[in-house]
């Protein structure tokens, strides 16, 4: 059952996310020819998807928390 405290916490996160986004709009835009390093697999999120899948679901079977980076992926009866 949702608590009032949980709803207040979610509102704070949303405000935090908006503040981060608003702050980023003030940065100098990075030009396409400057993105060579960012294009490397090592600089992307979840470049090795099989590794990420193994790791995330091993942790979700041994700990109470789970998820965060994506949606879907199937069910888990562990917790």
């Amino acid at each position: 059952m949702r608590s009032t405290g949980c709803l207040r916490a979610r509102s704070r996160w949303f405000v935090l996310a908006c503040a981060l986004l608003a702050g980023c709009s003030g940065l100098a835009p990075v030009q396409p020819w400057e993105k060579g390093v960012l294009a490397r697999p090592s600089m992307t999120f979840d470049a090795d998807r099989l590794d990420s899948a193994y790791v995330e679901h091993t942790y979700s079977s041994k700990e109470g928390a789970s998820g965060g980076a994506g949606v879907g992926g199937g069910g888990c009866g562990c917790n």
Partner: protein
């Protein structure tokens, strides 16, 4: 000695891939086929517990100019023993699980849309899910990407011990986020995810386990990748806050340092720190004359599952990868995990639980075509 099919642990050990929210700007130019093997073993003092051997394959194929197709398949074998309550009465288990996932992505000038599904089957557990993720660049320079996703999962649970039959669970999730290029050497991401789940959440293979039939959760994920020019390394940092209606609160901090070594080799040491408090209905170890701990009289919900107690955990690991040539690469990863009640940052760990350790090894090969 009876053998229990502890499929819930098997299902938990390995699940199909979820659509990732990476910042892909265009359809992939190449196809990739990857295979990865997992060998996992956990233990408590004097006893091996669960062992898992898994094989996974993932395929990504570009279709025409603006489409890509991805598929993955997993099979895993679980064996060993699992506690019936707290870290007591280790009971043998074995199971096998097979799963398949597919996805289709359409790339537009300013974003992409992915739709995917997963199917997982084992002796006592069936899981099916559908999901969609939209990524949209707000600027022509593609420095800011908004992310929105939604998914639904429906599970059917029929434990082999007959404690319950024909149980179901439905989980709905949504996420929203933003990926932002900060500098030529920095990219960051913020994702908020909300989950609503209804149905059977108890563990039928555990004694004294009765959980609410609703579990709502929220996560906040912050990720930052930084290129360190001095050594040409990629430093990946992440923080996740998790909270749910079971009363659980958890913090996760991750750090990876991927360092190129030359000739296509990279080495990546990693560190992960985790802490959670106990679920509101966790029953601490407090055995009576029979050696069992009983819930409070009249308690509606209760669990003696170690995984819902308060604890902290540390993972240290090392990954080594070698790009043999532009078409082939191999990788190996080793991780050691330690979980302790008295490492909990929040709440008080259960001193009656045995310490928990795990190690895992991954071996992989990738072909680009």
């Amino acid at each position: 000695m009876a053998t229990l099919h502890h499929s819930l642990l098997a299902a938990a050990a390995l699940l199909p891939l979820a659509p990732c929210v990476a910042m892909a700007e265009t359809a992939p130019q190449q196809g990739t086929l990857s295979y990865k093997y997992l060998d996992y073993q956990d233990r408590q003092p004097g006893e091996d517990r669960v062992g898992i051997k898994a094989h996974a394959v993932a395929l990504t194929v570009p279709l025409h100019e603006s489409w890509s197709f991805d598929a993955n398949a997993v099979t895993d074998a679980v064996s060993g023993a699992s506690p019936r309550y707290h870290t007591q009465r280790l009971t043998p288990l074995e199971d096998r699980r097979n799963a398949l996932g597919v996805g289709l992505t359409r790339y537009f000038a300013r974003g992409s849309l992915n739709v995917g599904g997963n199917y997982s089957k084992e002796a006592d557990y069936l899981s099916r899910s559908l999901s969609t993720t939209l990524t949209w660049f707000t600027d022509e320079g593609k420095n800011t990407a908004l992310i929105a996703g939604a998914g639904v999962t429906r599970d059917e649970i029929d434990p082999t011990n007959g404690i319950v039959a024909g149980e179901r669970k439905a989980v709905y999730e949504v996420l929203a986020g933003v990926t932002q290029v900060l500098t030529p050497a920095d990219i960051a991401q913020v994702i908020v995810r909300h989950v609503r789940g209804k149905g059977y959440y108890s563990d039928p293979y555990k004694a004294w386990d009765e959980r609410p039939r609703e579990r709502n959760a929220s996560t906040l994920l912050l990720r930052w990748n930084h290129h360190l020019e001095a050594t040409d390394a990629s430093v990946r940092t992440s923080y996740r806050f998790y909270t749910d209606s079971f009363g659980l609160r958890a913090h996760t901090l991750g750090l990876e340092f991927e360092q190129p070594l030359g000739a296509g080799w990279t080495v990546t040491p990693l560190l992960r720190l985790y802490s959670q408090n106990a679920a509101s209905f966790y029953v601490p170890y407090n055995p009576g004359p029979t050696g069992q701990t009983f819930p409070e009289p009249g308690a509606r919900y209760y669990t003696q599952d170690q995984r819902l107690s308060a604890f902290g955990a540390v993972t240290v690991g090392l990954k080594l990868a070698w790009e043999v040539n532009p078409a082939w690469s191999i990788d190996a990863k080793f991780e050691a995990y330690r979980q302790r009640g008295d490492w909990a940052l929040q709440g008080r760990g259960d001193p009656g639980l045995a310490p928990f350790d795990a190690r895992s090894v991954q071996l992989g090969v990738t072909h680009r075509f």
